[in-house]
Amino acid sequence: MNTPLLRRVLLALAAPALAAAFALFVSSIVLALSGSSWIDTYSEMLSNASKLETMVDILNRATPLYIAGVAVAIGFKMNLFNIGVEGQYVLASFMAAWVGASVVLPGPLHVGLILLTAMVVGGAWAGLAGLLKVTRGVNEVIATIMLNFIAIGGIIAALLPRAIEDPTAANQGTAVIAESGWLPNLNGILELVTREITKGRRLSGMFLIAIILGVAYHVIVNRSRFGFDLRSSGMNPMAARAGGVPPKRMILVAMLASGAVAGLIGMPEILSDSHSYDQGFVRGLGFAGIAVALLGRNTAPGMAIAALLFGFLDTSSAPLQVTGTASPEIVVIMQATILLTAVIAYEVVNRIRQTDEVRRAAQATESADPAADVATAGASA
């Protein structure tokens, strides 16, 4: 027995390791060129991240990134590029905040209603693109981009005046949701293993929901019949169809699921942070989710690492600016380099793995021939 297992593990680790190393290399050059010390910059980033409060920040930042990654990955699994996650989550957040602020219910019900509203709105908005693709053959990339504009520039702009609480306020937004609609934070659980969390940092309850979501995604995609249908449609739609997978229904269901998950992206903000939707509501998470899904290869653990990495980099930028160690934009450069190199590295590793497999399959064909068996036995003896 040679070491195919070891080789496989090394290959699997090679791509992300290469990408990270190359990103560090490029960032160091940029830092050097801009006259900052790269050693100082990296040590500042690391020492900052080792603080408990920053870790909470990283987790809070990684949570919506991860959910966004999952939303995008559901589409990717079926070869659908849902570029409209952005519009889906912003619209869903707005509607959920509005609905949440208009009622007062007992705790779990109130939170449940907000989550449900977000998922239904997100799902419906993405489902619209799915419907267009199935009935009219409209490419989902075009449809979802257009729907982004309609959602943010059209619907929200039109409805926000009706939803706002105080027309005279500087930052117009929906009313703050009653406390029954707040998701409890996880500080208590985290403090069981750490010291007390200070500086008013609270680990959002959505962190737990994101973990549950990740597990569900992993199990459904890899272990369920539905997941098999989804993946096979993505890998080879013609073969899936001949294998009994109805292509149109799969497109619709995948878009609905992707949109429903996208609806959850804004929930840490609504349920744990500002408790309202206003004009300064966090944007860009949908597009960041595309990067997370790409970097994490659409796998639950991969995307978790990618989301944490991006969360770490995002939270590093402010301290760099405050201490003046380096320009905060270095973080964006690092994110972009990692993503680009990772995509290339994965492809290279994939090809190596394929050639490997072909070689081993060819060996198996030969050794099934008794004469060849004798020959190889003689050679190895």
Partner: protein, 517 residues
Amino acid sequence: MAAAIELIGITKRFPGVIANDNVNLTVEQGEIHAICGENGAGKSTLMKILYGMQPADEGEMRVNGKSVQFGSPTDAIEQGIGMVHQHFMLADNLSVLENVILGSEPTKGGGRIDFDTAVTHISEVGKAYGLDVDPNDLVETLEVGEQQRVEIIKVLYRGAKILILDEPTAVLVPQEVEELFKNLRELKRDGATIIFIDHKLQEVLEISDRITVIRRGKTIDTVNAADVTAGDLAELMVGSELPSPETSDSTVTDEVALDVRDLTVLGPDERPVVDDVSVAVRRGEIVGIAGIEGNGQTELVDAIIGTVSPLAGTIALLGQDITNRSVRQRREAGLGYVPQDRHREGLLLDAPLWENAVLGHQTEEPYVKGMWINRSGARKQTEHIRSEFDVRSPNVDVSARALSGGNQQKLIIGREMTANPNLLIAAHPTRGIDVGAQAEVWNDIRQARAEGLATLLISADLDELIGLSDTIVVMFHGKLVATLDPAEITPRLLGSYMTGAALESGAESPDSQEVSS
């Protein structure tokens, strides 16, 4: 004067197949020379070699008496060879003029395109050969026949004196064919040499001076068009020695497994591609469908497995009407399917073997348990398929891509057979696989037949059809035109039905073996 083209001993091998085997061909100056043969006979490969798209492994090419070697079509164009592809290579949203000069634009100072010169040149070419199109028309507004004329002008514009036309009539309606033939005669009068690839015998006889027949990669004969009938050509195409059927006892039962009645399927152009077809397959019976590809076999199969819905007619499986059932419901009812293109419809190339075994059986034990994939059950079943059907692979976790074509095909056959189907649709089950795997696949199908499986076999390989089938039906232009007994079949008969010669000439019509039902 030296021959326009001379091919001597051209051989081209692909992994596992010899596409051209010692081909010899001489095309004289100024003649229209047809190349005839079934799909897969090696016509296209030969033309690709001649046009520099693929290198030959062996042999010599001479153009106008000069020995040549082509590295790319550019080399062929330089020697005055031009090709009109079956599928036009035109940019729809450009004008005729722009399409014609694309890639060889005349320029004036500063790299600007000299449109005036181009227009003059194109009109000259058009006038000289009676090819009439307006250079300023947008290509997308042209009829198919006109587009073809643009393709021909494109080739002439580049100075071609030897034209290769790959199945030029396939896309044309009869009037357009007439028009094309008129143009071709004009071209011939002006000294052009034309190589014309086709398998429609009447057309070939009408337009060409000489005809070369290719079968299984070999040149069979070159004949003068004036000296032969459609029947002679059909015989040459199919071959004079047909294999004799396997003398195994009939296992045909009375129980009808598949019953297709009056099935009509429309193609994309709203014309019927399957035209009022009725066919029945009983348990223990193999019904073979013979025919040159593109005569509706693919659409018939698609309608039976449920990926296209028919315009009219019914399909019943073991007495149950499945016409309106989904693909999955048909699969669950016991329909096994070996697709003609395993990479397109049969496999998930990047998925492991065991997942490929699940494909098409996602609702069946032992692959699934309720709504979950049963990984260990599926793996065990795939191991079973691997040993039972001799799929050579290191394990069931390698991706399907890693296997050779023969082993991929054995995996598909194994997957379908292991599910104990009531009906197997096998479309070209041994296409592109090595001889060893081919024998194994044939064996598997025969064994299943002995156990009572009903099989509908679609094949272009006459060995396979005659060797396996209990009954052979011939499909031509979407219709079943004959039902034949493999034991009594003659090459002339089969050939005349497959090429439509029997219908076109009428005189060839056989005595006893007309469509029986």
